[in-house]
C-alpha cells in the first residue's frame, strides 16, 4: 500500500505540486491522468524517493520513505519496477544487457537462467530479436518496450509506468495494456500508470486520479469516472475520446 500525504513541491520558486493526496491499495491498478505539464512525472518520482517533497509524506507499506536512511530507502526501492517516460535505457549496454542488468545485479541466477528470463521478458513486449541492438539503434517505441521488459524483469511488487503506451501504434499499445493487466492479475502487482491515453485507462485501471495544474482534482473508480460531471475532468476525457474516435 502506498500513501501520498499533502505533498507540496516547488522548483526554483515555482510550485508544481499543491497539497497532493493519493492512496494506492495493494493489488490495484491506479491510473494517474492529467494534461502535459500537470505534474504526473514529478509525482511519480516522489513515490520512489527520487525527488523529496518540500512538505508532506509518502509511505510505502507503512514506511515513511522521506525520513528513513538512504540504505533503507534502497531496500524499499527494490520492491519497485519503474518505467521512465523516456525509457532511460543504459546506452552503454545492448538491449539484452539492459534487461539482464537487474537480474545480474540483484539475483545470483546462473547465466543460462538469466538468458532464459531475459528472452521471456523481451518476448512479453514482442521484441524477441532485438537483444543485440544498442538503444540508439532502436526506435523510440522499441526503447520504451525494452525499458518495460527491464522494469518487470525482477517481478516487483510495485510497478510504476510513466506513459507506457505513448509513441506506440494502437496494436502495440493494446499488447502493452494486456501485459500490464496480466502482470496485475497473475502476480498481484500493484501498478501505477501515468498516462494521458484514456483508452488504456478504461482498459486496465481500477481507479483513476486526475491531476490538474498540480492539484489532485479528482480521484475515484473507473465507474465514477464515467458518471462524473466535473467540468474539467469531462473536458479532459472528451478531448481524449475525440482523439481516439470513440
Amino acid at each position: 500500500m502506498i500513501s501520498v500525504r499533502n505533498i507540496n513541491k516547488s522548483f526554483d520558486g515555482r510550485q508544481v505540486l499543491f497539497d497532493v493526496n493519493l492512496d494506492i491499495q495493494e493489488g490495484h491498478t491506479q491510473a494517474i491522468i492529467g494534461r502535459s505539464g500537470s505534474g504526473k512525472s514529478v509525482l511519480m518520482k516522489h513515490i520512489i524517493g527520487l525527488m523529496q517533497p518540500d512538505s508532506g509524506h509518502i509511505t510505502v507499506d507503512g514506511i515513511d520513505i522521506n525520513i528513513i536512511p538512504y540504505a533503507e530507502l534502497r531496500k524499499v526501492r527494490r520492491n519497485f519496477g519503474v518505467l521512465f517516460q523516456g525509457g532511460a535505457l543504459f546506452d552503454s549496454m545492448d538491449a539484452f544487457e539492459n534487461v539482464a542488468f537487474p537480474l545480474r545485479t540483484f539475483t545470483s541466477k546462473s547465466e543460462s537462467e538469466v538468458r532464459a528470463e531475459v528472452m521471456e521478458c523481451l518476448g512479453m513486449v514482442e521484441l524477441p530479436d532485438v537483444g543485440k541492438k544498442m538503444p540508439s539503434e532502436l526506435s523510440g517505441g522499441m526503447q520504451k518496450r525494452v525499458a518495460l521488459a527491464r522494469a518487470v524483469a525482477l517481478k516487483p511488487r510495485y510497478i510504476l509506468y510513466d506513459e507506457p503506451t505513448s509513441g506506440l501504434d494502437p496494436e502495440t499499445s493494446n499488447t502493452i495494456d494486456e501485459l500490464i493487466k496480466s502482470l496485475a492479475d497473475q502476480l498481484n502487482v500493484t501498478s501505477i500508470v501515468v498516462t494521458h491515453d484514456m483508452h488504456s485507462v478504461l482498459n486496465i485501471a481500477d481507479r483513476a486520479a486526475f491531476i490538474h495544474e498540480g492539484r489532485m482534482h479528482w480521484t475515484g473508480t473507473i465507474e465514477d469516472l464515467h458518471a462524473s460531471d466535473d467540468k474539467v475532468l469531462r473536458r479532459f476525457v472528451k478531448a481524449n475520446e475525440y482523439q481516439i474516435g470513440v
Binding site: I48, L50, R74, R77, Q85, L89, D91
Partner: protein, 247 residues
C-alpha cells in the same frame, strides 16, 4: 563552480562523503573499476607518452641552448632534464592531457546519464548510483594516474636523452652521469604523490560536474567544458600547494 563557490564546494564535499560511504559495498562495483582503469589508463597511454617524449626532448634542447659557457659541463643537461621530468613535467603533462581527455569524457558520460534519467533508473532499482558510477572512476584515476606518470617520466627522460645524443648536445653517458649526480630519492616519491593527487582531483571534479548536470544536451555541453576547465585550474592549484608543502 564559478558563480557560487561555497555552495559548490559544499555539494562537492557531500558527494565525496557519499562516495566514501559507498566504499564498503565495493564488491558490487568491481567490474566497473576494471573497465574504468582500462579506459583511463591504457587508452590514454599513447597520447601521454607522445606528449612526455616531446616535453623531455624540448627541455633538453632548451637547456642546451641556455648553456652558452663552455666552462659548464654538458652533463648538467642530464641533471636538469631528469629532475624536471620527475618533479614537474611527468605529472603535469599527464595531468593536462587527462583533464581534457578523461575529465571531459567522464563529465559527458555522467551528464548524459543524468539528463536521460539513466541515473534515476539506477537509483530506482535500489542501486547506489554514486557507488556504482563515481567510486570506480575516482579509484581508477587514483590507481592509473601514477602508472601513467611513471610511463611519462621514463619516456620523457628517454626522449630528452635521445635528442641530446643524436642532436649533438650531450652524449648518453654524460647525460646519465649528470642525472645520477643530482638525483634525490625523494623526487620520484614527490612525483608519485603529485600524480595520485592529480588523479583524484581530475576524476572527482569531473564526476561532480557530470553527476550534477541539468538542462538537456546544452547542460551536458556546459558540464563537459566546466569539468575540463575546473580540472586544469585545480590541478595547477594542487601543484602549487604540494610543492609549497612537501618540497
Amino acid at each position: 563552480m564559478i558563480l557560487n563557490p561555497i555552495r559548490a564546494l559544499g555539494k562537492y564535499s557531500q558527494l565525496l562523503y557519499h562516495a566514501f560511504g559507498a566504499l564498503p559495498e565495493f564488491g558490487t562495483y568491481r567490474v566497473n573499476l576494471w573497465q574504468q582503469m582500462m579506459r583511463i589508463g591504457i587508452d590514454s597511454l599513447p597520447i601521454v607518452m607522445l606528449a612526455a617524449a616531446f616535453s623531455g626532448a624540448v627541455t633538453t634542447v632548451q637547456t642546451a641552448y641556455q648553456l652558452v659557457s663552455p666552462l659548464i659541463p654538458r652533463s648538467i643537461i642530464g641533471s636538469i632534464v631528469v629532475p624536471s621530468m620527475i618533479l614537474e613535467l611527468g605529472a603535469v603533462v599527464t595531468g593536462f592531457i587527462l583533464a581534457g581527455r578523461v575529465g571531459a569524457r567522464i563529465a559527458a558520460e555522467l551528464g548524459t546519464m543524468r539528463v536521460t534519467e539513466q541515473i534515476d533508473a539506477l537509483e530506482a532499482m535500489g542501486l547506489n548510483s554514486i557507488g556504482y558510477l563515481i567510486v570506480p572512476r575516482v579509484l581508477a584515476g587514483i590507481v592509473m594516474f601514477p602508472v601513467l606518470y611513471v610511463a611519462a617520466s621514463f619516456v620523457g627522460i628517454g626522449g630528452g636523452m635521445l635528442v641530446g645524443h643524436f642532436g649533438g648536445f650531450v652524449p648518453i653517458g654524460e647525460f646519465l652521469e649528470g642525472a645520477r649526480e643530482f638525483f634525490q630519492p625523494f623526487d620520484p616519491v614527490f612525483g608519485l604523490i603529485k600524480s595520485l593527487v592529480f588523479g583524484f582531483t581530475i576524476t572527482s571534479i569531473s564526476c561532480f560536474k557530470g553527476y550534477n548536470t541539468s538542462g538537456g544536451a546544452e547542460g551536458v555541453g556546459r558540464s563537459t567544458t566546466q569539468a575540463a576547465v575546473a580540472s586544469c585550474v585545480f590541478l595547477l592549484l594542487a601543484d602549487l600547494v604540494l610543492a609549497a608543502t612537501l618540497l
